[in-house]
Symmetry: C2
Subunit: 210 residues, 2 copies
């Protein structure tokens, strides 16, 4: 063990402490808690280091985002399923993808906070993350469309509504318990949502198959 590794004076280690502090604050206080002073305090380091090592808050957030994957990943399993799916199976696959998005976002509080942040104000970080998600999401959406031989744009709008609905319900569940009679803090409520997603997808894509 070299001196540097055990030392309290270690740039890399300090940088990581600052990055970790961002995560800690987001999980504990939400995106509103993010700030130069709060981060430095949480990391037990002086705030001047944020300017020195990251050239300010934006730079730090950029590094923070780099270390996380803030795109809701469609599992490779499903990617393959899509690739090899027969046309008639795709309907169920779409529902499956949507449900995975729902669960993925529900399980990822950091991402929830960032998505909320995106909605409230534009900044370098939120723009970058949103852009990446839009691209990957539309890519997936297009692939599904292609596989189903759809050339209309109606299904894009249908998917937009469903994904948006999922986003809103998860984000709203942070601060409210019931939406349109559906409980947003119980598994039962989310099961109802998942069933509804399945039904909408079934009925819509059945209708356009003809």
């Amino acid at each position: 063990m070299t001196k540097k590794e055990i030392s309290s004076r270690n740039k890399d280690q300090s940088m990581q402490k600052l990055i970790d502090a961002v995560s800690t604050i987001i999980l504990r206080d939400g995106f509103k808690g993010i700030g130069i002073n709060a981060i430095a305090k949480e990391a037990n380091l002086d705030k001047v280091l944020i300017y020195r090592y990251f050239d300010g808050l934006n730079g730090l957030l950029r590094e923070f985002a780099k270390q996380k994957d803030f795109y809701i990943n469609i599992s490779n399993l499903i990617q393959d399923e899509i690739e090899n799916a027969q046309k008639h199976e795709l309907k169920n696959l779409i529902a499956k993808v949507l449900k995975e998005q729902l669960r993925g976002l529900r399980d990822n509080k950091e991402l929830q906070e960032l998505m909320l942040w995106e909605m409230v104000e534009k900044n370098e970080l939120t723009d970058a993350i949103a852009k990446e998600r839009e691209e990957k999401g539309y890519e997936l959406s297009s692939k599904l469309k292609e596989k189903m031989d759809l050339n209309n744009n109606e299904s894009d709008a249908v998917m937009a509504i469903l994904v948006s609905g999922i986003y809103y319900l998860v984000l709203r569940s942070r601060t409210v318990d019931v939406f349109n009679g559906i409980s947003l803090n119980s598994e039962k409520g989310w099961q109802q949502i998942e069933n509804a997603i399945q039904m909408i997808v079934n009925t819509y894509f059945d209708s356009i198959k003809n």
Copy 2:
């Protein structure tokens, strides 16, 4: 004209100035702009009056909300239509209600800001407004369900997703231009969304009619 009416010293007038300032700030800067100092400055009055006349910011916001109607009103016309509708017409009526919600929210920037505020933090004002909307919304939803002889809860969840989708898309359009390939800053894009709503409602409610 009495002395009081032309005077610059008029409590009622000052109170109204403060209430109006809240509105002005929300429209110009969003809910983030709301604050004791900013409101006083906007109203050209001293902030101490907010404490004296409204017992603080919460009281002022309460009066502000009282003067506005922050529930997206379903027009009386549609209320009547629902009341007198035949069962087979209700499907179209549901789509119509949803589209009216979309347009209503799009046209109401103040409400957009308040809904965003609701998602970010709980406070007296946002709780009250959200509660009212939940109640009125579920009431309408229940009436439609009753008229259609639906006793399952699936349609509640389906409606929840559709309404949520509408909310998210409108709120997101404040800070982003494209969502899943759909333009959120052009009439064309919103027309696609409306069409998709119509299609989802048609195909879903057709399927459960049997």
